[in-house]
């Protein structure tokens, strides 16, 4: 076996091991169904909406928060404008003037984490949450989250099930599939007590978390990831409320998507470096032993597979062109006649089919537990595009991390 193919087997083994591990976790503890039960009590909640130039969506974001089924006297919406240069501030001010439980602050631009910290410092509620100004919550999202928090006082932070808001173009449809199996993965990480990120769209914290471990940090523009790492390092519990739905707008262009994912991936690499002591450290449980090492391995495997495929396909094309040029054989379409003998039945095919099948299972389960319905064209977009686009941000992130260059937000 050539060394390149051997590397591919290693990548497939890593992917399969990870999927099998999550499958075992799933069989051990299946996600519960949404119940009609109401919370035993309603703690005070302050949802922070940090925003920078979000005039298109901030109004809808605030409205979705105000429409939540939750006692309005227990809910505060705090909009922190991080020095927007568009109409974000005036739109948010309108809501603050109209609704007594909407507060509005504006400050000089300093980055998302500074807006969040500003809001936290001014918060008095038991629970402090965050909602990106391009995301919208389901009406019962807060109820679902609070039920989980009420059930277990040791839970210090909680994440929702994130879905793509009204996916339309191919790129959004592709991300809809990705987010759906992300829902399954996140729930399985919850089973393993190893959630690795508290995303901007509707992650909630007990306010005491910030007293214990401090406020958000710049953290290579991935403050939501770093806070999760820091919470794990302090032994604070993070769970996932898979029945709490939040809808987020996703990048519509390849350029914007690559920029966003480069920031996430590079953030993972740089935060991993900052928290290197947690890798393969039993003290941090499955987070240190599985999620962190496999996150890094998946990154390397993605890069390797993309590189190997690019090399193989390019070599094939170059060789074919050289062959045609040397032999003088005219170009012609190969005929197709079915004969089992010529079907590719190598080991790598069977392993790849297994990996894809488990991925499809994860997507199916993610859709089932979050009551998401995916269109067939979403799958077409996912399988046709993801493999070509993902390597772009992996390479950019690796390069950025290597040069210790800061990633950009937009």
């Amino acid at each position: 076996m050539e060394i390149g193919a051997l590397g591919l087997y290693v990548c497939l083994f890593i992917a399969l091991y990870f999927e099998v591990f999550l499958l075992i976790s799933f069989l051990e503890k299946r996600p519960s169904k949404k119940s009609a039960l109401r919370p035993a009590f309603y703690p005070t909640v302050d949802i922070l909406v940090p925003c920078f130039n979000e005039q298109e969506t901030v109004g809808k974001t605030i409205e979705s928060l105000l429409a939540m089924e939750y006692p309005q006297d227990k809910l505060t919406v705090t909009v922190v404008d991080d020095g927007s240069t568009d109409n974000t501030a005036s739109i948010a001010q309108t809501y603050a003037a109209k609704y007594p439980n909407v507060r509005f602050y504006t400050k000089e631009n300093g980055g998302k984490y500074t807006a969040l910290n500003f809001g936290i410092e001014n918060a008095t509620a038991d629970i402090v949450g965050c909602l990106d100004a391009d995301s919208f919550v389901a009406q019962d999202a807060l109820i679902e989250v609070i039920k989980s928090l009420n059930d277990n006082p040791s839970i210090m932070a909680i994440t929702p099930a994130m879905k793509v808001h009204e996916p339309k173009n191919a790129l959004e449809l592709m991300q809809a599939v990705e987010y759906t199996f992300g829902i399954f993965y996140k729930k399985m990480f919850d089973n393993l007590s190893a959630i690795s990120v508290l995303p901007g769209p509707f992650s909630l914290y007990r306010r005491e978390v910030f007293k214990k471990i401090g406020l958000f940090k710049h953290a290579h523009n991935t403050e939501d990831m770093e806070i999760a790492f820091r919470m794990h390092s302090h032994g604070l519990k993070i769970v996932n409320a898979h029945t709490a739905y939040v809808y987020t707008t996703v990048p519509k262009t390849v350029r914007a998507l690559v920029k966003q994912r480069t920031r996430w991936s590079q953030g993972f690499l740089q935060n991993s470096k900052d928290y290197a002591h947690m890798f393969f450290n039993r003290k941090y449980g499955n987070f240190g032993m599985l999620v962190l090492p496999f996150g890094l391995a998946a990154f390397a495997a993605g890069l390797y597979t993309a590189g190997y495929m690019l090399y193989t396909v390019t070599s094939l094309i170059v060789n074919r062109i050289a062959d045609y040029s040397a032999t003088g054989i005219p170009l012609h379409m190969p005929s197709f006649h079915f004969d089992w003998f010529y079907i590719q039945t190598s080991m790598i095919i069977f392993v790849t089919v297994t990996v894809i099948s488990l991925t499809l299972f994860a997507i199916y389960m993610g859709a089932k537990i979050s009551q998401t319905s995916l269109k067939p064209r979403s799958f077409v977009a996912y399988f046709a595009l993801y493999g070509f686009i993902a390597p772009l941000w992996l390479v950019k992130a690796a390069w950025g991390a290597l040069l210790a260059r800061e990633s950009v937000w937009r």
């Binding site: 083994f13 091991y17 099998v20 054989i329 190969p334 190598s346 080991m347």
Partner: protein
């Protein structure tokens, strides 16, 4: 954190890999069995034809002209053997054994062709003995193989017998010695002429085999290996 889960996941993953290996190996075995069965069928056909010659002393030349001996089956065998070689590797014992059988069948078919052409003056076959190597010392062999495959598809009457020069088969080595083929591969023997060496493109091959003009043509539609 439970170590059992880590070990169990490893065990299941290894089992899936093992199963994939087993299934792939079963398919390869089935392919080898398929090739062997075809070779046996071809072998019986050759034996039958030889026996017909022995029984009748002579076979009506019209029958020979209408039934172009075995080259179609041999072409299909070559294609299948190429797939098996690609999957199992050229140094696989099973592949080597199949190649030896295949080479023997080709030699027998070639000898039969010689015999028929001597007895039937109207039967004028056009054939090429092609000697190649796949040990990495013949970069042009694969390309010349493609040219010959294309010619074979374009001129169905053209018979191409391909031999692995390095195959340890006494009958083949005898043929190589008899036809004085040197190791400067690729080498071609066209219709009993002296060996020619080196790569030839499609145009050069057509010039090298002027007899091709006597053969009917078809539009090449496949690129079998």
């Amino acid at each position: 954190m439970s170590w059992q889960k880590y070990i169990l996941a490893f065990g299941i993953t290894a089992a899936i890999f093992g199963t994939a290996f087993y299934i792939a190996a079963r398919f390869d075995s089935a392919r080898v069995a398929d090739i062997r069965a075809t070779q046996e069928a071809v072998s019986i056909d050759i034996l039958s034809l030889e026996t017909q010659f022995d029984l009748l002393g002579n076979l009506p030349c019209s029958i020979i002209a209408d039934n172009p001996v075995l080259s179609d089956e041999l072409d299909e065998l070559a294609s299948r053997l190429s797939v098996a070689e690609g999957n199992l590797g050229s140094d696989n014992a099973e592949v080597i054994s199949l190649k030896k059988q295949y080479s023997l069948l080709q030699i027998k078919d070639y000898l039969l062709l010689q015999e028929v052409s001597q007895k039937c003056s109207s039967f004028e076959p056009v054939y090429v003995l092609y000697f190649y190597s796949n040990t990495g010392d013949c970069t042009d062999c694969a390309r010349l193989g493609e040219v010959l495959t294309y010619l074979r598809q374009t001129y169905p009457g053209l018979r191409v017998y391909s031999f692995d020069y390095n195959l340890n088969l006494s009958a083949l080595q005898t043929l190589i010695a008899l036809r004085k083929v040197r190791g400067d591969l690729p080498a071609l023997i066209i219709n009993d002429r002296a060996p020619v060496y080196g790569f030839r493109n499609l145009e050069q091959m057509e010039e090298l085999i002027p007899e091709l003009s006597t053969l009917s043509t078809t539009t090449a539609t496949t690129t079998e290996r």
